[in-house]
């Protein structure tokens, strides 16, 4: 392991009141957080944003009353990633794990598994899901398939790197948010450029390098049995009939689903 000490860690959950069925989502997160031992000490922070009024905010905050989490309020103008940046600037821990509103933890020791993989030499980013999908159809500046990127629903990163990476970003619309996740200067690509790797961490605790993402049995693969953290997208996949699963899986992983070898991915290897 690269580190001699245990870095301080904050878990930041984004509680967005503007989401449909937000209370149900908050409750799912709280239930899963209590069910699975995180396996590592951490500071809890909840970002509250997008609430219509004080009453709704109060209801939202009540959902977390059983947790020892610090509240943090931001405006709902800069999408999830903007809120993460706001939080990162406020928090003083060395590392942060970000979870979005739809997150539902799925394994014991989940936070420790992420953290241990971030401890590894030349690893700059870890997350529960990743994809090769490209949204170049929306914006041609987005790299074409295979566009290697960790998804932003559940990821852990060094706080300082995250803030530095995003301080020059303008996040004014949805496309800007997509760019941070999978654009030409996405967080994943910034990590690659820095000579580091981005790992998907499975329920088994293994950190999968990009060449092995397509056989990690995580995001949109098989029964996603190795998912560390679930979200609305993984749940939608779970509920798709087999044929649709096949189509969406092909969109996400293409032919790599069978080979797993990714020599074609410049910069993907650390």
């Amino acid at each position: 392991l690269a580190r001699a000490h245990t870095p301080t860690l904050a878990l930041v959950y984004l509680a967005r009141g503007a989401d449909e069925s937000y209370l149900e989502k908050f409750n799912s997160f709280v239930r899963s957080y209590k069910m699975f031992n995180p396996g590592i000490a951490h500071k809890g922070v909840i970002i509250f944003k997008g609430f219509r009024d004080a009453k709704q905010l109060s209801e939202g905050m009540d959902a977390f009353s059983s947790l020892d989490f610090a509240p943090l309020h931001t405006l709902d103008l800069t999408f999830d990633i903007g809120a993460y940046l706001d939080a990162a600037k406020e928090i003083e821990t060395e590392r942060i794990c970000f979870l979005n509103t739809n997150s539902e933890i799925a394994s014991d020791h989940w936070l420790a598994k992420l953290s241990r993989n971030l401890d590894l030499k030349n690893v700059g980013l870890v997350g529960a899901t990743g994809s090769f999908e490209s949204l170049s159809i929306l914006d041609q500046r987005i790299p074409r398939f295979p566009n290697v990127h960790l998804r932003s629903n559940a990821f852990m990163i060094e706080r300082r790197s995250f803030v530095e990476m995003l301080s020059s970003c303008q996040i004014g619309n949805k496309n800007d948010a997509f760019f941070v996740e999978s654009g030409p200067n996405s967080i994943t690509r910034c990590i690659f450029r820095a000579g580091q790797s981005a790992l998907i961490v499975g329920r088994d605790g293994r950190g999968y390098h990009p060449e092995n993402w397509p056989r990690s049995f995580t995001f949109r693969q098989g029964d996603q049995s190795n998912l560390l953290v679930k979200d609305n997208v993984t749940r939608t996949f779970e509920q798709m009939p087999w044929k649709e699963k096949e189509e969406i899986s092909a969109k996400t992983w293409g032919r790599y689903i069978n080979s797993g070898a990714l020599d074609l991915l410049p910069g993907a290897k650390a």
């Binding site: 420790a112 598994k113 590894l120 499975g202 088994d204 605790g205 293994r206 009939p241 096949e246 899986s249």
Partner: protein, 1154 residues
């Protein structure tokens, strides 16, 4: 006029409402015109009455006094008031018994189907009513556009839709022209013949089809008429002479045509006679020539002899004169004799060569002569057959018949006259082969490779013309003209007459007849496979040589040109034809002809005892092996290839795995106990442990004496593995188990897949195991030595001395946290020796103990002697009431020539053959059982309940039956089954003594005794039966068919379940009226925490889908896929490593799709 009248009538109609599409009126006016013209009364049946207006219009339109009958399933039509004498009958058109009773036996002139518009109903109605159509009558189906609609059982080109059915009736018009090898089933053929006899025409209009019945049945095919005398394009005489008698039999000739044919026949036969005479003359001329040359040769010999004598005399004179010493004289004498001998030899050789050439020519001519004589005999036979064809005697053609008879007499006379009249002609090479010069033929063929040919001759041989040499000498000597033409093989294979040149024979006859030029070029296959070559008329071998190989075409099904070149770059670089290379070099060098054929393996396996080096392995396989059931390569080859790939992938990910091990949150310590075995086998096992990438393990000699430093390890992180000595662990084994523990820290028992390994290190017989299968575990220890158990759980049992199968059985009673790693992590070395009787005894004891612990009693027997898979037969202490629910349509069917009332047969066979008597029969009928059937129900005290909904829905029928059941268990049963063994019910019931069992299914066999149901698996979320069509005693994959085993589902044709469970989970899903409802039920049973068991000792015959034609409803399939979307793979069948189409459990690595 009739259209105008019909339109007028239609719109003037003021009675009951009538509804027709606008273009129907013109169709009806046209189709009914002849009835109106004839003015005779007609009998009309209209299916589908609606408001009755249509019937009223027809009553007005058709000739006065016509009988108009309407038929409808809706009883409301009985209340319709008609202004004319119209009869309305309430019945289901396909309820034949009731329909016939009400309609009477008299046929109808017109039948209109405007009924349900469901394809199934339309087709069934047509099939059953066609016989009720008067000869000359019309059958009209309205609104056929509905047959393109999914909701009515139709769809665009959907098999079984009404429009497709009527399109198929067109085929019946052509039934007499089908080729004898046409791919048509016996059932289809019967129906086509039935309709073909009677259908006069089929007319398709927009949304309407009209089928007119012939006035008389067509009992013989139509005859061809031939008339006229001039044929500038195609010669009918030639066609007639070469056509088989069957095609000529029905021909009718006009007088002038028969005269022309007669003359043509004469001309042809005379021509043949002339050729025959010419050939005989040629032979005679050559004989004369040979005789002359032989004489000349004798003269030459005499001359040589004289010259030699002269030399001898001259030598003697010189010797005397010069008084040479003896030695010198001797030398000179020897030289002279040598010269003399050489001279003589050369002369003799020259003459022998000439003689042989002449002899070969004579033989060739004789052979050609024989062929022509044979052709003549054939022609005579054809002519005789032609002359005897019966229809020549048809009266207007009697002149033709007499002419033919006259021709015959004339020809016979000419034949006799021609015999003693040989004519000496000048013989030339061109004439000697009849019409083709063999040299030119071969030269043009591209099948003579001079270089190749010369290589077969002695090195110093010089030949001016290789082709001539081949014709005169080489062919007879067995030399090959081309590397891909094997003269000797060809001559032997096709029994050529001595003297026949094989290549000439191939070029003139062989290729066209599909004969093969060498053992590895399959001419017929090539032409069949590559239709473009066949259609082009090209010589197949030449095509392969010039184009085929380069285009990746193959010379036979077992040789891949492309693969061979890909594998052998040297051959590709040298641009050598792949088959040529393989035949002459590749096989000897052990180069495989395709990925599917292993030379090395085949030789080793099948040619070891012969001198395999001289035998071409592929040739051997094609000629003998295939027929004998030999394998072209190791059945294990795919598996070995997959192992290789996996090993490479594992090696590539090793750095990542090492990182993972360093970052693991839980680092389990594996305590490994190696039991039994020799010191060597223990060492083998230990060596495999030393290769583990996961380092934390401890080989323990004694279970309770850990080294001090390990005492500190958390007890919860210790896992125990009991290995038999000799078992090997894959180097990833402990890592994979540790990963599984990290993924699910609650897991108590983890097992993995295993295979066998021999002393050469070759792995085979992989066992891709099902996920946790408690009922399979009672048949055999399928978990085996690969069990990795949390120490806390194992320790107490180990202290009691439990081990092996007993330990696994006891462990699984303590925890249900059981995981399965779908990877081959263990390799067995004891496969051949493991079935010892001692081992069997231990297993039996373990199972008997298990029965005692779980409150059951029974017998445990190996299913085969000394086999470690068991049949556990329970002695039932309680015999619960079983409610047998049989949904039925009350049908009679013909099976193997016997007529069976399915319901009666089902009840009778159950009652007479079953030893289990605590039964309650519940029959769910459609309200149409006949009196015999009702009597039977009464005799058996069966409850009867009627399903009254119009649409078929077996799920609803079963639920209806279950609603009145009082038994503790439900036996859902099709009416087309017959039990085969007396205790078939007991063998189902016994599994319910285990509280976790929710459903039990039986082994079902087809009528021919092959398997129809031995478990159901999901393939891409589609249910499918495993191992269909296998013998009744098939063992399956690791006893999957012979032992009780868990599956994801069993068929609903015979399924037993708990009544309480059935009711708790809501019975069968009624949205699945036809398809997948049984699998859906099983999946919901599993969801409720119960298991599904296949019980092989409960055996029945299932006449499958006799009650109803099997069909898949696509809406239901979609529903099922949506409902069970989360089921990505079958937990009891490894879709990635076992065949999926069809699921036979054969090992095959499949591509991942998701």
């Amino acid at each position: 006029m009739s259209l105008e009248r019909l339109v007028t009538l239609f719109f003037a109609h003021d009675g009951n409402v009538v509804d027709k599409w606008e273009h129907y009126l013109s169709i009806y006016a046209s189709e009914f015109a002849r009835f109106l013209k004839e003015g005779k009364t007609v009998r009309m049946l209209e299916i589908g009455v609606q408001n009755g207006g249509s019937l009223e219009v027809w009553a007005k339109y058709l000739p006065a006094g016509s009988e108009i009958v309407g038929l409808d399933i809706d009883p409301a039509v009985e209340k319709i008031h008609f202004d004319r004498p119209i009869k309305v009958v309430v019945a289901d058109v396909n309820d034949i018994e009731r329909r016939e009773l009400l309609l009477g036996a008299e046929p109808f002139d017109i039948i209109i189907d405007d009924g349900s518009h469901r394809s199934g109903d339309i087709v069934q109605a047509f099939r059953s009513l066609f016989d009720k159509l008067q000869p000359g009558g019309v059958y009209i189906v309205e609104d056929l556009h509905a047959s393109y609609w999914d909701g009515l059982g139709g769809g665009f080109r959907r098999p079984g839709s009404a429009i497709e059915f009527f399109k198929d009736t067109v085929d019946s018009l052509a039934i007499d022209y089908f080729e004898t090898n046409a791919k048509v089933s016996a059932v289809e053929l019967e129906e086509l013949q039935r309709f073909g006899r009677w259908i006069d025409r089929v007319v398709f209009y927009d949304s309407v089809v009209v089928i007119q019945k012939r006035l008389f049945a067509k009992t013989t095919p139509y005859r061809r008429l031939l008339s006229g005398v001039t044929s500038a394009v195609t010669n009918p005489a030639a066609e007639l002479l070469t056509a088989p008698p069957a095609m000529v039999r029905e021909l009718r000739l006009g007088p002038a045509t028969s005269q022309v044919l007669h003359e043509e026949l004469l001309t042809r036969l005379i021509s043949e006679l002339k050729v025959q005479g010419d050939l005989k003359a040629s032979i005679e001329a050559l004989r004369v020539q040979l005789k002359a040359q032989t004489t000349e040769h004798a003269l030459n010999l005499e001359l040589v002899r004289t010259e030699t004598d002269d030399i001898r005399r001259e030598a003697a004179r010189i010797s005397d004169e010069l008084s040479m010493n003896a030695a010198e004289r001797k030398t000179l004498q020897a030289t002279i004799e040598q010269l003399s001998s050489t001279h003589q030899s050369i002369s003799l050789d020259m003459n022998a060569a000439e003689r042989k050439t002449l002899q070969a020519t004579i033989e060739q001519l004789s052979s050609a002569h024989q062929s022509i004589l044979l052709a003549l005999v054939h022609t005579n036979a054809e002519r005789d057959a032609l002359l005897q064809k019966v229809t020549w005697g048809f009266s207007p053609l009697s002149d033709g018949y007499r002419f033919m008879k006259g021709s015959e007499r004339f020809i016979r006379h000419r034949l006799r006259a021609s015999r003693p009249a040989p004519k000496v002609l000048e013989a030339t090479p061109a004439q000697s082969t009849g019409t083709v010069d063999p040299e030119q033929l071969i030269r043009r063929s591209d099948l003579f490779d001079s270089e190749w040919y010369l290589r077969q001759l002695p090195a110093a041989t010089t030949i001016a013309n290789a082709i001539r040499h081949y014709i005169a000498w080489g062919a007879a000597e067995g030399l090959d003209p081309h590397p891909l033409f094997d003269s000797s093989w060809y001559a032997e294979q096709y029994l050529l007459e001595p003297g026949t040149n094989p290549l000439v024979h191939y070029l003139v006859h062989g290729a066209a007849r599909g004969l093969d030029p060498n053992p590895l070029f399959d001419t017929s296959w090539y032409l069949e496979r590559y239709r473009d070559v066949r259609d082009s008329g090209a010589d197949p071998l030449v095509h392969y040589l010039k184009h085929g190989a380069a285009e990746g075409r193959d010379p036979n099904p077992f040789f891949s040109s492309r693969w061979y070149l890909e594998q052998n770059e040297d051959v590709e670089r040298a641009k050598i034809n792949p088959l040529r290379h393989y035949l002459h070099h590749g096989d000897a060098e052990g180069r495989d002809p395709s990925a599917g054929f292993s030379i090395r393996w085949y030789r080793e396996k099948y040619l070891k005892e012969e001198d395999g080096r001289d035998i071409n392995a592929l040739d051997h396989y094609i000629q003998f092996g295939k027929e004998a059931g030999y394998e072209p390569r190791s059945p294990n080859a795919d598996y070995l290839l997959e192992i290789l790939k996996q090993e490479q992938a594992f090696a590539a990910t090793l750095p990542e795995i090492e990182q993972h091990i360093s970052a693991m949150v839980i680092k389990p310590l594996f305590l490994i106990l190696i039991r039994d075995g020799s010191a060597n086998s223990r060492k083998e096992t230990e060596r495999s442990l030393q290769t583990q990438v996961y380092p934390a393990y401890l080989i323990v000699e004694s279970l309770f004496a850990f080294p001090e430093e390990e005492q500190e390890t958390e007890a919860s992180s210790r896992f125990f593995i009991e290995l038999s000595a000799g078992y090997l662990m894959h180097n990833s084994a402990l890592y994979s188990l540790a990963s599984a523990i990290n993924a699910d820290p609650m897991v108590d028992i983890i097992y993995a897949d295993h295979d066998s390994i021999d002393n050469r290190g070759i792995r085979s017989r992989p066992f891709f195991k099902p996920d946790w299968s408690p009922d399979y575990l009672e048949s055999m220890n399928y978990i085996g030595s690969s069990a990795c158990v949390r120490w806390n759980i194992a320790e107490p049992l180990l202290q009691q001395g439990s081990s092996g199968y007993d330990l696994i059985l006891r462990l699984t009673e303590l925890t249900k946290n059981i995981g399965h790693v779908r990877q081959i992590l263990f390799h067995r070395t004891d496969v051949e020796t493991s079935c010892s009787s001692e081992g069997v005894n231990h297993d039996v004891e373990a199972l008997e103990e298990r029965l005692r612990r779980t409150g059951r009693s029974g017998e445990v027997r190996p299913i085969l002697p000394d086999c470690r898979c068991y049949d556990v037969k329970i002695h039932l202490t309680v015999k619960p009431l079983v409610s047998v629910i049989i949904p039925t349509a009350g049908k009679n069917v013909d099976l193997d020539g016997r007529s069976i009332d399915l319901l009666v047969n089902c009840l009778d066979t159950i009652a007479s053959r079953s030893t289990y008597k605590h039964l309650e029969f519940i029959i769910v009928d459609n309200g149409d059982l006949n009196p015999t059937q009702r009597d039977h129900l009464r005799n058996y005290g069966a409850k009867s309940i009627t399903f009254r909904e119009p649409d078929f829905n077996v799920a609803k029928k079963l639920n209806l039956g279950a609603s009145i059941a009082t038994g503790e268990l439900l036996l859902l049963l099709n009416d087309d089954v017959e039990p085969l063994v007396p205790d078939w019910i007991e063998r189902l019931v016994e599994h319910f003594e285990k509280p976790h069992v929710g459903v039990v299914g039986a082994k079902l066999l087809y009528n021919d005794g092959t398997t129809q149901h031995v478990g159901v698996v999901l393939n891409s979320c589609n249910p499918d039966h495993v191992r269909r069509f296998k013998p009744r005693d098939d063992l399956g994959y690791y006893f999957s068919a012979a032992a009780a085993r868990n599956f994801i589902a069993v068929t609903g044709a015979c399924m037993m379940t708990r009544t309480s469970l059935f009711r708790t989970i809501g019975g069968y899903c009624e949205s699945l009226a036809i398809s997948y409802n049984d699998t859906d039920y099983c999946l919901r049973v599993i969801e409720s925490g119960h298991t599904i068991v296949y019980a092989p000792r409960s055996e029945l015959v299932h006449f499958e889908s006799q009650s109803r034609v099997a069909a898949l409803e696509m809406d239901e399939v979609k529903y099922f896929h949506k409902r069970w979307s989360r089921l990505v793979s079958d937990p009891f069948y490894n879709e990635l490593e076992l065949t999926v189409a069809s699921p036979t459990f054969e090992v095959k690595h499949n591509r991942r799709f998701i």
